[in-house]
Amino acid sequence: MIAGNRLLRRLGAGLLWLTLALAALGMVLHPGGGYAWASYFDSWLVRVIWFSIYQALLSATLSLLLAWPFAWALSQTPFRGQWLLAAFLNLAFILPVLAVVLGVVSLFGQNGWVTLPGTVYGLPGILLAHVALNLPFATRLLWDRLSQIPDHQKRLAEVLGMGLRHRLRWLEWPLIRMASGPVFVLIALLCFSSFTVILTLGGGPANTNLEVAVYQALKYEFDSRAAMLYAVLHGALALTAIGALGQGGLLNMEAAVRQPRGGQRGPSPLQWCAILGLLALLLSPYAALLDRALQADWHWPARLPDALRTSLGIAVFSSVCAVLLALSRCLPGAVRTRRSRWLDFGVLVIPAMVLTTGLFLLCLRLGWAREATWPLIIWVNALMAMPLILQPLKARIQAAHSQYHRLTRVLGMRTWPVLRLVYWPLVRPVMLWALALSAVLSLGDMGVAALVGQVDFVTLPLLIYQSMGSYQMTLAAQMMVVLLALCASLLLLAEWARGRYRAGR
């Protein structure tokens, strides 16, 4: 059995190593052109790097500052139905980035619900969108951490007569401070690698980050040398930040997937305030988006069916690839080596656009750019989704392994029966969830498709982006409602299947 597991593990690892190697090769063999190397290191590049870091730090700080009070209030006592709020926070994190962007524009842009002193395009819009995207995530992680305060410590605090303020000072603040570091690093990294938000809300060359610079170099200037340089710089900066700040903040959706234990009582008044405040903050962009969509009759562009087909096709294939890849990464058997841990780490932290750039440059070099569009988009989307679904699958497979590995060995069960009879029934309840999550992530992706796709290649997010570019905001909002409905249906389907499975047992 171990040998079979090892083979499957090696197959998955081999594909990941091959991807990293091919991306690196693409960087080295990039199809020439461009200017002298020294000419790229100008004041513009310095400004791009500065802006990449500056907006990321600012976005992470704002998200965290806002998340603190919400997480603190929510964690005071477990309340009935808190899983629903937790599920909503998880959902808000994985919905298409472009939906938030469009929501922010509908809310704060021209003819929006709220009038900003200046324009929404530029740093204000970028910060608003990043906060809307990351606030639920930060709140969820901090809430989860604070909920782990042991009951005996809470009892002790009560015995000692600590009120809210003292409990915060002695019990909760040390935990918040400890958890905030990793969460900050994580959000800063996500914002550092932000593409869609900066591209759509940046509002001009003054507000460009490295990812957008790669895109512009490849798509507008046809300068592959510049694209390679920016991508390498981007990857190097991200890795340096993680190396300097530690791996503690790495994305661990296991916490986010775990349903917190609910309490018997309803939320306290303080918790009601937090819940309503959070919902108002997070739902208002979507409400504004829906309002914008309903302002005119629904007219569908001729390319919509084509875009839908392409998006769904990519979502189906990439989610299957992501799940298979994740399964191969969590099969027990061989002792996990340092190299294997580095591989998982590498896939998690190397920005997808850097990988995409490397692979795309290689395809350009080989003259396969058009043929490779689909496989490239599917594969990179699968790689992006894989770390998010890995932990729940891994937790189940490892639990099954530790409980049953002796039994499977004494019964002489080989790889296939073990996969079929032991692991599969245990991962099946999360399998549809994993497929749906990966599919939703792929459906919402714009960056990879924008970079790799040719002029005639269109996905639903790309079509929406094109409508935004031609100031057809209502049409964009209407198509976004379609995309959101698709994502929501997929996630509901996964929840329904999970519920049905539980009921059937």
Partner: protein, 238 residues
């Protein structure tokens, strides 16, 4: 005859060493303080842990070079003897073929074993919907279907109440009578087991084990021997 000669293994920095013989069809109780290697012995015999030296012969043939599932041993652990998410029927089927896929004749065998252990009406249930006693019978039925000549029982009934423990032991005795099984049983309830035991393997240290016939053991114990050894954690498994 089960012939264990200078069988040795090492776990961390602790060495274990066993030597004994057991006639085919006999039942041997393995007793001693915690940490001396009672469960380790069963794990080495069945192949879950490697032996570093020595021989284990069953009916004259060395079994240590055989793969785990070809050895003549069926084993029941303290817990996790059944796959909790699979039906009792599939759990039993795995005793016949490790793929879990059965022919019609095999299905008949599963049903016969289920009837034999009084669980025929529970075949479609998962183990979490069975009582402790029913789970114990399902695990025994699977071992029964494996038709292994030697049963290694690593306190499989220790978490049950005395009545169910006695019932479990009776089922083992029935199997022994029917299949002629040889049984090695780790126990902390020696007094309950002695009436049905032919031989006792008593751990003095992890490297020193005393193998005695039950009569000899009782005679020596009546004279005051082993008190300090058997006094240790007699109730530990509760």
């Amino acid at each position: 005859m089960l012939d264990v000669r200078q069988l040795t293994t090492q776990l961390g920095d602790q060495d274990f060493h066993w030597e004994f013989k057991l006639a085919a069809g006999d039942l041997m109780a393995i007793v001693g303080a915690s940490g001396l290697g009672k469960s380790t012995l069963l794990n080495v015999l069945c192949g879950l842990l490697p032996a570093t030296a020595g021989e284990v012969r069953w009916q004259g043939r060395d079994v240590l070079d055989q793969p785990l599932h070809r050895r003549p041993f069926g084993i029941l652990f303290q817990s996790h003897n059944l796959f909790e998410h699979l039906s009792v029927e599939v759990n039993l089927a795995l005793g016949i073929h490790p793929s879990g896929r059965l022919h019609e004749a095999d299905r008949e065998r599963v049903l016969t074993a289920a009837r034999r252990f009084d669980i025929a009406n529970l075949l479609d249930r998962t183990p979490d919907r069975l009582s402790g006693g029913q789970q114990q019978r399902a695990a025994l039925a699977r071992v029964f279907l494996q038709r292994k000549p030697v049963l290694l029982l690593d306190e499989p009934f220790s978490s049950l109440d005395p009545a169910l423990r006695q019932e479990g032991l009776n089922w083992v005795r029935d199997m022994q009578a029917e299949q002629g099984s040889t049984v090695l049983l780790v126990t902390h309830h020696l007094d309950e087991m002695l009436p049905v035991t032919d031989q006792v393997l008593l751990g003095l240290t992890s490297e020193q084990w005393l193998s005695l016939s039950t009569d000899e053991f009782e005679r020596q114990r009546a004279q005051g021997a082993f008190q300090s050894l058997l006094g240790i954690d007699t109730d530990a498994s509760y």
